[in-house]
Symmetry: C2
Subunit: 337 residues, 2 copies
């Protein structure tokens, strides 16, 4: 048993490695469009749900109070690469709320993107919390605290009113109870709860359509998705998968990666939400899975061609010659007729 | 069906990700000590077999002709981190053979180790071929060509006499035919052939014991293993798994990682060879697998305690707090009584 192989890694004509996973595509009413593997097993969505976690930031009026536009809202939903524009905007957001960079409780790390890390190493002695890939989310959290009058100290901890609001939004959107025995700590120190892919997919369909939401939540969700799709660089960074897919999508697809091989996405015009996890946590495979699923769901559309190509990346050796590539397995390749 | 889950990744108390794989432990006569998963499916051994690929370098007399000791032989078997000592020694080896760094045909890349890359970014405009993790192997190849009077140009190509000698050594040691339809190109541009883990494990037992080898091959194999175990920094680098395991082993265990989740190892005193592959290609999981297998095979020994701990690495968040870890699955945990 176990989840099916969904992505193959080829070297020459030989399959060198295999990635298994599960994929759920649902509409907002809970109708399944695609279901592969075990979509009921709870998985940590990690950063793939930052757009949902940003609902209190918009709904509370914090984003408006500080005069934030698409870029700031996109950054609040981002796992950015720590490029100078990302770090600067995160700090600027805090300044609007009268806070300093010492308010961040996310910790610091060098960029995970080689080309960004090289520039960081040449210009910084050490990375700061503003360079943390989650600093935009944390800026949104801190601005919400400042606007609502919550003590910002300890805003990452279980039981802080900000985390209560985030958890309530997550439970409302996904419809899945967030159980304490399925709670872990995310890389940026906030609580993360394991929930089924089925619930995440339906939740993203609801984010895209507003189905079942109170009017102000539907409006906030629409605004958040629109902001991310309008400013995809601020959701990820140069060359990153989310940025490339949303740039290609020109406002028609929302995507967001999460650590350990998670991806959530939505196609608003079709009212569909997508949630997937690569069993082994590999980002390279999750990127193939989400691009392929989106390509299949948009079959016949010009955008599908770009996504189809993104689902088949080439591997080169150290001299730049093609030596292999990744591709969807037969199981994934034929899912949607 | 498929290979069993051998490594689990935990966040809090929840298994967040799972790595499958296959493991073979054999003696030099082909007796199985452990067999998990499909050990007959051909896998590319990648860099895990550099010690076998170094046999022509030692057997041809090249290593002696240029006055090389343990460090140079270890570097010829290495996937090093591109630290200054590694790059300098690779160039020094070429100089002894009257060759310049322009002879390298491996291509260049930045270090895959964050702390090394940061230093490289601060001291280099671009990495050179000497910084390629395979430059030591290529230095060994080039010195062998120079010593034997082969034209060094094209030494990486299929059909070059150097690659013929490497392939012949691989076939002799593993006993597995190297078939053209199972040939791919490695990251450093040389041919790589997929062979069963069973054959690789037995091959490493033979490297450790010399069983069935001609006397000069047995002597070369012993010398290569001894060199790697004596100079583990030159096989990998600061903080790397191979270096740490062989430092802890103090001459009692040989280990070598390969790309895409492969590991080969040997315990000479027990006459055992080990070969494994993580299905999805994850190094983090292959490192857990090899440490756990070695710990089990050395059960009751003080060294086993260190290896047992290396098989259970802790995961921390960006503030350094423990949030999870990796561990062998129950399937792997109970293999050797």
């Amino acid at each position: 048993m176990g989840n099916p192989v969904l992505v193959e890694v080829l070297r020459g004509n030989v399959v060198e490695s295999r990635h298994r996973g599960a994929i759920a595509v649902f509409d907002a009413d809970g109708g399944a469009v695609m279901s592969l593997g075990d979509i009921d097993r709870p998985v940590f969505p990690r950063s793939a749900v930052k757009s949902i976690q940003a609902l209190p930031f918009v709904e509370s009026g914090a984003a408006d109070a500080y005069g934030f536009g698409n870029r700031e809202i996109a950054l609040a939903c981002s796992s950015h690469s720590g490029e100078p524009e990302h770090a600067a905007l995160a700090i600027a957001m805090l300044e609007r709320a009268g806070l300093g960079a010492d308010a961040f409780e996310c910790g610091a790390h060098w960029s995970s993107q080689e080309h960004v890390l090289i520039e960081q190493a040449r210009t910084l002695s050490e990375p700061t919390a503003a360079h943390n890939n989650c600093s935009g989310k944390h800026a949104g959290f801190l601005c919400t605290c400042a606007h609502l009058g919550h003590d910002p100290q300890g805003y990452v901890a279980l039981g802080h009113p900000l985390q209560d609001a985030v958890k309530a939004a997550m439970e409302d959107v996904t419809g899945a109870a967030h159980k304490s025995d399925l709670c872990g700590t995310d890389g940026c120190s906030i609580p993360t709860y394991a929930v089924p892919l089925r619930a995440l997919a339906q939740g993203f369909a609801r984010m895209a359509t507003g189905t079942g939401f109170a009017p102000e939540r539907a409006k906030a969700a629409r605004r958040i998705f629109a902001a991310c799709m309008a400013e995809p660089f601020y959701v990820a960074g140069s060359g990153r998968s989310d940025t490339r897919m949303m740039e290609a999508g020109q406002g028609r697809i929302f995507t967001k990666t999460g650590a350990e091989g998670v991806f959530c996405a939505a196609i608003p015009e079709k009212g569909l939400g997508i949630a997937l996890k690569c069993d082994d946590g590999a980002t390279r495979a999750a990127e193939v899975m989400v691009a392929e699923v989106l390509a299949q769901l948009l079959k016949g559309d010009a955008l599908a061609g770009t996504l189809h190509e993104m689902a088949r990346p080439v591997l080169t050796n150290r001299r730049g010659f093609e030596v292999g590539g990744l591709r969807p397995s037969d199981v994934l390749d034929v899912q949607v007729g």
